[in-house]
């Protein structure tokens, strides 16, 4: 029971990170119908930027307050990653809009290879480890010497995710940009006819997706304290799994899918086999797509002639 409770806490933390990345997949898929394969690597780039920003703040500028440092790191990572994703969309995906369906996917795969190798070449292939940023935890309950703990960093991840999701929900549901996004998602041509700037809206979608991925990257760095150039691929596929499980195109679905994947992964690691934890996530992906292609909250995809 205690183990289960502890894994529940760990799973929700991991799931929050996956959920933040998954929103990026689901938004981009919803609006232009492409699997943004490079999104996992954008997340990895964000983690590296957060690393660099954190090192500048702590070792050069001597910022001693972790809260301030973390806040600044978060902002810097979000700004920079948004810029990166904006440029990527501009250079690699926009020229291919309206081309045949595989073209953007191939371009995105190429971009994914490019990004991970760019980081490998510019920052070196080794794992980058930093001393733990946040330490300490609450002991929730103790039973037979097994303490169920909720660490401060897990609490930070939960809090930041919740706040961001609230902001994000407001953005999509209540603002002009959100309306434009939903309009483009339904019918781009019609949206353009009623005066929505489609190109700009798509660009903003990539910017927002990158912003959320940057938060996930920063949280990942803070949680694990280590990042390497190859860390984009597997979290990327898992977040995509989360998006598919929740129903691709559905924003609440992405978050819930993320939480589910996080829980499945931690539970699988705790009770079955840690070696095969990636197999669990990949199997969920395959099973979902085969038996429930529209996901938990998605609309069924009706095929017309």
């Amino acid at each position: 029971m205690e183990v289960f409770l502890q894994q529940l806490i760990n799973g929700i933390t991991l799931g929050s990170i996956y959920g933040l990345i998954a929103i990026g997949y689901t938004m981009v898929f919803g609006i232009i119908g492409m699997v943004n394969f490079a999104h996992g690597d954008v997340f990895m780039v964000a983690a590296f930027v957060a690393l660099v920003a954190f090192l500048i703040l702590t070792t050069w500028l001597g910022v001693s307050s972790i809260a301030v440092a973390l806040f600044i790191v978060l902002i810097v990572a979000m700004l920079f990653t948004s810029l990166v994703n904006w440029i990527i969309e501009r250079l690699a995906y926009r020229p291919l809009r309206g081309s045949f369906r595989l073209a953007p996917l191939i371009s995105a795969i190429g971009m994914s290879i490019f990004l991970s190798n760019f980081v490998q070449v510019s920052q070196g292939p080794r794992n980058k480890a930093i001393p733990p940023m946040v330490q300490g935890d609450f002991v929730l309950l103790t039973h037979n010497d097994y303490a169920v703990t909720l660490s401060f960093k897990q609490l930070i991840i939960w809090g930041v995710t919740a706040v961001l999701l609230a902001c994000f929900w407001y953005l999509v549901a209540r603002t002009r940009l959100g309306r434009a996004q939903r309009a483009c998602e339904q019918d781009q041509k019609m949206a353009a006819l009623v005066g929505v700037n489609v190109d700009q809206t798509i660009s903003m979608t990539f910017v927002i997706a990158a912003g959320l991925a940057a938060v996930a990257g920063t949280m990942y760095l803070m949680y694990y304290g280590v990042v390497s150039f190859a860390d984009g691929f597997v979290p990327g596929v898992k977040a995509f799994t989360a998006a598919v499980l929740g129903g691709i195109g559905s924003l609440p679905g992405a978050v819930i899918g993320g939480l589910l994947i996080g829980l499945i992964e931690t539970m699988w690691s705790a009770y079955f086999s840690i070696d095969y934890k990636d197999v669990a996530a990949f199997s969920v992906l395959a099973i979902t797509l085969i038996f429930l292609p529209q996901g938990l909250f998605g609309r069924p995809d009706v095929e017309k002639v």
């Binding site: 070792t59 990166v84 191939i106 371009s107 290879i113 990949f282 085969i290």
Partner: protein, 456 residues
């Protein structure tokens, strides 16, 4: 600059503004990851280094390129637009088109001879092995995947799994039971196509991107199993000492029964390499030949019909289940052949050889070559694999960038960059016209924009 300026004149202000914006963006883009480098110091702590000269060099290069683009490249393009369209293509273009395939086939057949004649017995080994065999493996894999992606229009991102099945079945069966290469080659193909059908069954209903991601998941699952099932596969450590193929029973070694001794030649490792070269060449030709013949059979036509429109296919009474499964099975079979050849050539295999990157590379070759075009796929394999291999040879770059410059580490970086660039410039691939396999009076090439594909 694009709308306002009269043709032929360059809007200097706009060009400068564009260049300034580009430079600024490049600075922002490269500042965190090139301007700073995270390094581990003596006390094993992570600290920052700065690389300002490199950062400003790259940013300046980007700005200058953007200026050059506005001032040189755009006027050059304008000049093209003004010129009237050529009514008939020049004669030499037609000649090249007609003679390219026979010439290419002739060239690959005499390639080892040319290499030995030009760089001697010692130097030839590298050129035949690293370039010839390596490229031909990818040509064969590309042609195999071309059946699945190019003909049947099923996007498969886990193709390397079947390659792995072929390699591991050869390695394990040859080591455990001592069967010869020639028995195991078809057996590896059968094993792979069995897996192709097994993995093909559940994904029959999926299409497009979804199919791609599920096949990716299957590929990764197989790789993780190969890593973790240590009893069978020896995990990360891989399998070494895999028996090599022999020349009709004559092993390629220095013994008295060896190939060299039997023919009265001096022993040299190049004989095995040349034998392997012709072996993979024959396998690749087999793949191409089977594909060309299959396109004329009902099943091949059904594949192409499936690629163009699945619903129409179904309403015409084509059994889409069987059609898709045969495509998966036959594509996987060729991957299995290539895999067993790979294991026999290397003598060592490990899960590291079968990563997602390999699948992406093979898919990139097929798509960049122009899906469905045999020649295009071969050319793309030469460009992408040969291009990355040649990076190993660019020693002169060390004189430019200093002795610590290692061109090989930029291979995959440029590979990804090339993938994006070729896709943006030629989304339909290098050979984008399509010749129909069934025609009435004359065989006419169809421009790519007239056909739609990749929906299935």
């Amino acid at each position: 600059m694009r709308e306002g300026a009269a043709p032929g004149r360059i809007d200097t202000v706009a060009a400068l503004r564009d260049a300034a914006i580009t430079t600024l963006l490049a600075f922002g883009l490269f500042l965190p990851l090139i301007g700073f480098q995270t390094v581990v110091n003596i006390r094993n702590e992570l600290v920052l280094d700065t690389r300002w000269p490199l950062l400003f060099g790259i940013v300046a290069a980007v700005g200058v390129t953007r200026l050059a683009y506005s001032f040189l490249f755009v006027p050059w393009l304008e000049r093209f637009k003004e010129r009237p369209m050529a009514v008939t293509p020049p004669v030499w273009l037609g000649l090249i088109r007609d003679w390219f395939t026979p010439f290419a086939i002739g060239f690959v057949i005499v390639y080892p001879v040319i290499v030995i004649a030009t760089s001697g017995w010692g130097g030839a080994l590298k050129w035949v092995d690293n370039f010839g065999i390596q490229i031909l493996i990818y040509v064969m894999l590309g042609w195999g995947l071309n059946i699945v992606v190019g003909l049947a229009g099923l996007l498969d991102l886990g193709y390397v799994a079947f390659y792995a099945v072929g390699a591991y079945s050869y390695a394990l069966l040859a080591k455990e039971f001592g069967f010869s290469f020639w028995i195991l080659l078809p057996l590896a193909g059968v094993m792979s196509s069995f897996w192709g059908i097994l993995l093909g069954f559940p994904v029959l209903r999926l299409r497009g991107d979804y199919l791609a991601i599920v096949t990716l998941a299957f590929g990764e699952i197989i790789r993780i199993v190969l890593i973790n099932w240590v009893d069978l596969t020896n995990g990360y450590a891989g399998i070494s000492g895999i028996p090599r193929p022999s020349f009709f029973g004559l092993p390629f070694d220095a013994s008295d029964e060896g190939f060299a001794a039997t023919f009265g030649l001096e022993f040299s490792p190049i004989y095995r390499t040349i034998f392997l070269y012709y072996l993979i060449l024959a396998l690749a030709f087999l793949t191409a030949f089977v594909t060309v013949r299959l396109r004329r059979l009902p099943v091949g036509r059904a594949w192409e019909a499936l690629r163009e429109d699945e619903i129409a296919c179904r309403s015409l009474g084509i059994n889409t289940t069987n059609t898709k499964l045969t495509a998966f099975a036959i594509g996987a079979m060729f991957a299995g052949f290539a895999g067993s050849f790979f294991a026999a050539r290397q003598g060592f295999i490990s899960p590291e050889s079968f990563t997602f990157l390999e699948s992406a590379t093979i898919l990139a070759i097929v798509v960049l070559g122009g899906m469905g075009s045999q020649i295009g796929v071969a050319v793309a394999a030469v460009v992408m694999i040969g291009g990355t291999e040649i990076m190993r040879e660019l020693e002169f770059l060390k004189y430019i960038f200093g002795p610590s410059f290692d061109p090989t580490q930029y291979r995959m970086l440029l590979f990804g960059f090339a993938m994006v660039t070729i896709m943006v410039l030629r989304p339909r691939g290098l050979v984008s016209t399509r010749t129909p396999s069934v025609f009435l009076k004359e065989r006419k090439a169809i421009p790519a924009d007239m056909v739609k594909e990749g929906h299935g």
